[in-house]
Symmetry: C2
Subunit: 566 residues, 2 copies
Amino acid sequence: MTAASPVPPVPASVTPGDLQPEMPPTRWGDPAAAGPLPAATRGLVDLVFGHHDTPARDRVDLPAPDLAPYHLVALRGLVGEDHVLLDDDLRRRRTRGKSTPDLLRQREGDLADAPDVVLRPADHDQVVAVLGYCAEHRIAVVPFGGGTCVTGGLVAERGDLAGVVSLDLGRLRRLLALDPVSATATLEPGLRGPEAEALLAERGMMLGHYPQSFQFASIGGFAATRSSGQSSAGYGRFDAMVVGLRVATPAGEVRLGTAPANAAGPDLRQLFLGSEGTLGVITEVTVRVRPLPEVKVYEGWRWPDFATGSEAMRQLAQSDLLPTVLRLSDEAETAINLADPESVGGEEAGSTGCLMIVGYEGTAAAVAAKQRAVTDVLAAAGGAQLGTEPGESWAHGRFDAPYLRDGLLDAGVLVETLETATFWSNRDRLYTAVKEALTAELGEGTLVLCHVSHVYPTGCSLYFTVATPGGTASHNTGDTDTGAHNTGAHNTGTHNAPLERWLPAKAAACAAIVATGASITHHHAIGTDHKPYLVDEIGEVGVTALRALKQALDPAGILNPGVLIP
Amino acid sequence: MTAASPVPPVPASVTPGDLQPEMPPTRWGDPAAAGPLPAATRGLVDLVFGHHDTPARDRVDLPAPDLAPYHLVALRGLVGEDHVLLDDDLRRRRTRGKSTPDLLRQREGDLADAPDVVLRPADHDQVVAVLGYCAEHRIAVVPFGGGTCVTGGLVAERGDLAGVVSLDLGRLRRLLALDPVSATATLEPGLRGPEAEALLAERGMMLGHYPQSFQFASIGGFAATRSSGQSSAGYGRFDAMVVGLRVATPAGEVRLGTAPANAAGPDLRQLFLGSEGTLGVITEVTVRVRPLPEVKVYEGWRWPDFATGSEAMRQLAQSDLLPTVLRLSDEAETAINLADPESVGGEEAGSTGCLMIVGYEGTAAAVAAKQRAVTDVLAAAGGAQLGTEPGESWAHGRFDAPYLRDGLLDAGVLVETLETATFWSNRDRLYTAVKEALTAELGEGTLVLCHVSHVYPTGCSLYFTVATPGGTASHNTGDTDTGAHNTGAHNTGTHNAPLERWLPAKAAACAAIVATGASITHHHAIGTDHKPYLVDEIGEVGVTALRALKQALDPAGILNPGVLIP
């Protein structure tokens, strides 16, 4: 048991009140925190994939801003001279999100989806003013929180609109209210995860939402995408933390949340949660908060196989006996985590068993009681307690994977993740189907790793990581049609070998997910990448409902056009 | 600790497969289970209010069915000759719900809101067919589950529509699927609470949703109104139990629920949950189920006052340490429950303190562990354990209150309930405001009782019971314009003394709720009674969103017209 640090590590560059950290356009995260591939990983790459230096382009051309000057004048009047930004560097950083396809396009210099201008409104009223102006003049507005989207949610369809504005919410970053009696906090959407936690920690409270993107993602983004974090077993999904919302829409303002729950018609909070910026701009989020935990304990448990470990998770969830953190790696992911790639997929497959991380946070008494009860269940179900070392190791590196991805992309290894969710009785079928689809599409030498990342009484989510030789990046081999990269539409124009290798694999995985009746996304959202599958999720009538809402709230169709709604 | 009975008592007349029980048109429940007022209550009535025999009218006239014969022919073709029902008795039983105003109107013989015809479709496809026909011919459709609504949700606005059909879902009462691995069950909407529990109990499972209306309310109604039950602390609100829905809308069918939770856009399940029959007819509900509990323990706890007890509830909820049942009566309700009316409101007010019911259900081990932890918190917070007698007594009578209401109405005492929810920091202000509003409007000799009925980490609901002299029923004094009772529009036409006494009090309570920023309804829904306050709940833009959905899914406006959506 270790004394609790108040919040997970905050990048050195982030303290409340500072300017927010900017990620490089072609990479994840804080450049100061990034480094070369660890030696063990490098060795693994050489062994499994072979190493091919695949650097990103240093210099790229950006399409010139294409918004009439009189619009810029008007927008300056709304948000101030200093907050209508046209510079190439910022526009490049506001182009797309941080999926592997996004990075591959950026690395190739494909900036066709760049916004014309970046606006930084100061508050709700300025957001309202911008929406009013843009609706009147038919200018697309792409709400931008942390820019960590991995499903193409920041790619606006320009269509016949007058231009594309990136609505950067980074200045809306206040803790507006803390109600210690009700245990609620009202946060502005531009607060990044660590900023929000730091503001709450100063007051002895916490939110407890730690997705992989935590260090850069924003409160507004968590709400708009129905995010789920690594502590969801204990603290719940982000949408379950939300008790109130304020939303600016072109049709006017909405405030929702008179009580934790009510029966006053459909719960309209759930309309804006997950709306991905297409129905309105979330300008305030009221969430449940908790006292900072006295203690945090993260343990490892070993399971003979994935099915046995999953079954134990199901048992915990159905007994309403969940720890704070609960995740289970399959045999392949466990082997990779142990830097033992030879045991992955070969005859030795499964020899390492499966690693489960079990974390407890709270008061000392509550942690002790929960730990006792959970330990009884896990031990009876066939798990072996490994102590806190594997848990601490996981906690230490819990936000590092995206940095590792950059290093692997540099080394010519294509790495991407995808996730889904289903009911327990369908877990194994889904697992097998996705794994087979990816392997069949990407061929020999592909690693497909998986973990159960979130659990519910009735089901769970599966999170897959894929690593495969990326093919040779086109601009290193000279076969790129470099002239096209600034003019083509989204997804076209540039020959991008790793991207062309990945997209059919992703499509195959999505088809497998749909075929098994699972959800196309548990927490990454729809964006543009998953849009073709939304109808499988909610049916034609569901799509009709979304379109009707869109038409009512955003009749000019300016809010994140082309995202989410088919 | 007592051995668990599998489910709460089922009315003798209900076993799966039987015809469903019918409530009398002017009273609650099973006539066989109803009786005269208990002697203690009768004494209390004489003491506090004085007794005035106020029987319901025995014979009343019903407006003649007003639907063209060729529609009846067509509808018979869709659901079968035997399931298009025009008889007066059934139509009278399908008129309105079971609020006190509903009963007062029925008792006065006001049947102006009677449907023209009752249809009993056999399955989803027949529901679809009926909706198609009625949309084409502009016939209003009022979905009918258990008929227990208390907010006017069964009162269709006839407008210029061709007629009003009561769509009785009582034949859709199958357990369609039970997935023991995922712990889900798919239920048809016409199953009443006890029927659903009995079907699950045969398979060792339970749902655990026990609203006051449990014995007669239906699965579809629970979903359509976002119901909440007496065991919500442990088992959650009904909407939180739902993982899947099938809905027939005039625009087509929707199936929702690919996974327990996902991030595939807004959670559209939440659009139909709470839609009160205005957006579609729910034809299947998939819910989380649980193993039948090994043990059930219900305890009483005494608190010095309402505030101290509420504070302890807040502490439990914010520690994620909730028992299965948790409710706290205020001083007045506690005194009445102890049949000690003299201590209510007088100098002795508060002398009895406040009674809390704390119930635990589950495996023996889980109950023991939870009981230990909860007991520690409650004892430290100032509660005194009273043992199981008060808890057992509560559990025994948990569904009796509506029967008591009938007896009190017979005795000339006006009794009604209303409920609201708010965040913890606003609890006391809300409590005081509603109590004062009711007392000010109804005057001396009015009892206002309250309990905290549902708790959340961030807030709770308050459930008020009001008892006041009802005035003399009009048909006993001869001053009724009896000629008007079959022709007037809803809410008008008949002089109804108790109703005219109640409605301004209800309006005053609603105004107090809105003024304190609380929710107009925690679990009774909007119906027609709360419709004027929906805009306070969701704003003009929220109303715009609902109207857009209505227009998209029910363009002919036939589904429960006039209900919910302003």
